[in-house]
């Protein structure tokens, strides 16, 4: 039952993540140019200016963390549906990391919010949010809900049942 909810939010999160990467996140208009950049495109641009640390933060927050989270939640849910017994401790660790780290993906949404409220200098420069800001925010929220629906106690349940069986007690 609880896994159904995990999968539902997971699917919604993955679906929202696709347009989040194909549509522009940030639209920059200056006197000379009109430039729409996607999430990855924006990070590449920062790296081109030489700020590799900031580019890495953006890439980690908006690509590595979300994709890693999709994989981690799917792996945990499948491991419980198959009733795997081994590595409960490692799987629990994975759950904790996933649950803790997911919120940090919101960085890019906040960056877009700061830039588009601040950079409003009529014709000199102005920044507008693109449609990806919406789908990306939704994707982060959906995956957070997915991770929260996941009950980590299920990881230990199959181990407990197995122990009960071996000791000849009813599970």
């Amino acid at each position: 039952m609880s896994l159904q909810r995990v999968w539902a939010w997971w699917i919604a999160g993955v679906l929202a993540y696709i347009p989040a990467n194909t549509y522009p996140m940030l639209i920059t208009e200056t006197l000379l140019s009109n430039d729409a950049s996607t999430i990855v495109g924006g990070a590449v641009e920062i790296a081109r200016h030489g700020d590799f640390v900031v580019a890495a933060i953006v890439l980690v927050a908006s690509v590595v963390i979300p994709v890693g989270k999709f994989v981690a939640i799917a792996y945990l849910a499948v491991s419980i549906q198959r009733g795997w017994l081994h590595g409960s401790r490692q799987r629990h660790r994975l759950y904790e990391v996933t649950d803790f780290i997911g919120r940090w993906s919101m960085i890019d949404v906040f960056v877009v919010a700061i830039l588009s409220s601040l950079v409003q200098l009529s014709v000199v420069a102005s920044i507008r949010p693109g449609p990806a800001a919406l789908t990306f925010a939704l994707s982060v929220i959906f995956t957070m809900l997915s991770a929260q629906s996941f009950d980590p106690r299920l990881i230990w349940d199959s181990e407990d049942e197995d122990k009960d069986k071996n000791e000849g007690r009813p599970a």
Partner: protein
Amino acid sequence: MTDQPIPNDSEDYIACPTCDALYRARMPAEGGRAVCQRCHRVLIAPRSATSLRIVALTLSVTILVTAAAFFPFLEIHAAGLGNRASLLDVATSFRSGTLVFVSVATVATIVLVPLLRTLLLLYVLGPLTVGKAPLPQARRAFRLSQQMRPWAMTEIFALGCAVALVKVADLAQLDFGPAFWMFALLVVIVIINDAYMCTWSVWNALDEKDN
């Protein structure tokens, strides 16, 4: 996970909230911690004068959030033109069409949820600090404040500011407004506040006052 009935003695039991292992709760020494053997989650971590400290920190969070929301947060200058934005401007910057949802989410995660959480904690812990009985619905308020925890994103917004500063650096000149420093202080206080709170001790205090 055994089918033996749990003996009904005066000792309190505590089940680990993440992995369900059952323990006999015994108060660790001041400053010590009781940790789940199986999944290493901290179960009990009492500290001296905790609730008084939390009430103090909570009050400062309330003041700082309110002030930081209205004072200028960042200022920008380029080619003789300038613009300033407060935290509320930032949060409501998505005005067109469906993007309004992003505005709502931003306001909620960086202003409303942190503020509401601290107000709920104040409601729950305030009476306990001065030794009075908890106010009605205190349990529900405390539970709600715990559920809100992952949705308060002040520290994430702080890192977002750093990234935004780098992005604008070659487009225009940036200045920090007073709200920026209040917000920086706020992030530190929120983190300390969360680190200090022992959930089990609060529930325990609520139970004791009830009986």
